[in-house]
């Protein structure tokens, strides 16, 4: 992959957008604005995939995350009463615990990022032209077990959602 000045520039712009919007997602007082910043974050991540020549992943990122996951969150927002997060508990006792978890996650992913031989990977395997076909091949051969497990998990979630949503009664007095 050739590294032109423009792609480097694009990377930094996108990274800044992702980080900025991610911070805004958690710090926004208005939950609706949070969701919209989340959507921006997802779309910017699709941009990152585009820089990596992974067009399919980029499109999936937009379709699934911005188009579907955000919508699901929107549903959640619309179904709850409170939209204003003035009494939001942005900083409280759990901050330290959360900080620990984040630090641990950072450490683990940093470790793997550091130990992966990026140079070899980038040099030896060029991005294939037909990435979609190869993803399909891999999902149904090498990674068939995780693929099926994920499918099962989704099915369980689906059934659970149906059970929960069934026979919802209105909270009426008379």
């Amino acid at each position: 992959m050739e590294t032109s000045i423009y792609s480097v520039l694009a990377f930094y712009v996108l990274a800044a957008v992702i980080l900025g919007s991610a911070i805004l997602v958690v710090s926004m007082r208005n939950i609706v604005h949070s969701v919209l910043f989340l959507a921006i974050c997802f779309i910017a991540m699709a941009g990152l995939f585009l820089i990596l020549d992974a067009a399919y992943l980029a499109v999936i990122q937009v379709l699934v995350y911005a188009g579907a996951v955000c919508i699901m969150i929107i549903f959640g927002v619309m179904l709850i009463q409170r939209t204003d997060m003035k009494q939001s508990n942005l900083f409280n006792r759990q901050t330290f615990m959360a900080g620990g978890v984040v630090a641990l996650t950072l450490a683990v992913s940093g470790f793997f990022a550091g130990t992966t031989a990026w140079a070899d990977l980038a040099a030896n395997t060029p991005v294939p032209e037909d990435s979609l076909g190869q993803i399909g091949q891999l999902l149904l051969s090498k990674y068939v077990i995780p693929f099926e497990v994920a499918a099962l998990l989704l099915l369980v979630a689906l059934v659970g959602a149906i059970v929960l949503a069934k026979e919802v009664k209105a909270n009426v007095d008379d």
Binding site: Y6, N30, V32, H33, L36, A39, I43, A55, Y56, V59, I60, V62, L63, A66, G67, A68, C70, I71, I74, F75, M78, E129, L132
Partner: protein, 350 residues
Amino acid sequence: MLENLFTNIAGLLRNLLDSAGVPPLWNDVTLLVVKLVAILVFILINALWLVLMERKVAGYMQARIGPNRVGPWGLLQTTCDIGKLISKEIPIPKSADKILFLLAPALVFVPPLMIFAAIPFGKDMVALDLNIGLFYVFALASLTTIIFWMGGWGSNNKYSLLGSMRVVAQMVSYELPMILSVLGVIMLVGSMNLTEIIAAQQNMWFIVTQPIAFLIFFIAAVAECNRTPFDLVEGESEIINGPYTEYGGMGFAMFFLAEYASIMIISAMATTIFLGGWLAPFGLTFIPSWLWFFLKMYVLIFVVMWFRWTFPRIRVDQLMGFGWKILVPLSLANVFVTGIGMYIYRAIGW
């Protein structure tokens, strides 16, 4: 001569830039910008014209004449309407979320513009020839949901909220059958590149080999752009005007024109995927390819309008039931049958 009219213009522009000593990258960028601007102008002019066409079609279906005062045959009616709407104040409700309220109509034209960039209007007439063109279109189309929701939520009105709830539910539900219905075509072509999909229809349009997929796609697409009989998002006799209830002036006009832009998109997509895109049928190649594309597109647009002025509105639970209980299983079955058909086809070795 006519056939290559637009490609020649593009080539001319490129040569001009080359001779002026512009570096190739900037040359590409300039050309892309020119193409996008051309598409934007195309969309806007078409949307304006479609509003008039809709009113004329409605008029003739309802035993009346329709607009006929401004310009010959009422041609300048929508232009005047837009002039009026632009000059109007945009009233902002007191309790509205101002940023979202104003942002939504501004953003609503972005996805259509980006989608049109990937649609081949004619032979060698595509601004962005993407490998995964089909998916790209769907991904961007799914973003419109958020914009409608922004407008509905930002208005802070119960009718708008109900409308945006319906928008979200309807668009999410009908995206699924829409994507599933084109899977059969993707399987047959083996590519998601729109140019290749058109090329694969050289001998036979996919509407012949995939008739059920076409029906599902078209129904779901009509639902995606919130047109009758699936116009419950607006449903003026129930929820006034859904997400656009609080909009006036140009804010409303933007949503209004965006509806026509999305009709163009679904018609263009259906043309590309099922009606052979810009390919000329029966060897009638003396008509330029882009004209063929528009002809097919306009036939479909007319069908959509015909729907609107004939059908009543479906109810929200019937809409969901129809989407999930009929269209989704049907499109899955279509994929399954297509797979078996391809297998048999190969086994025979025809």
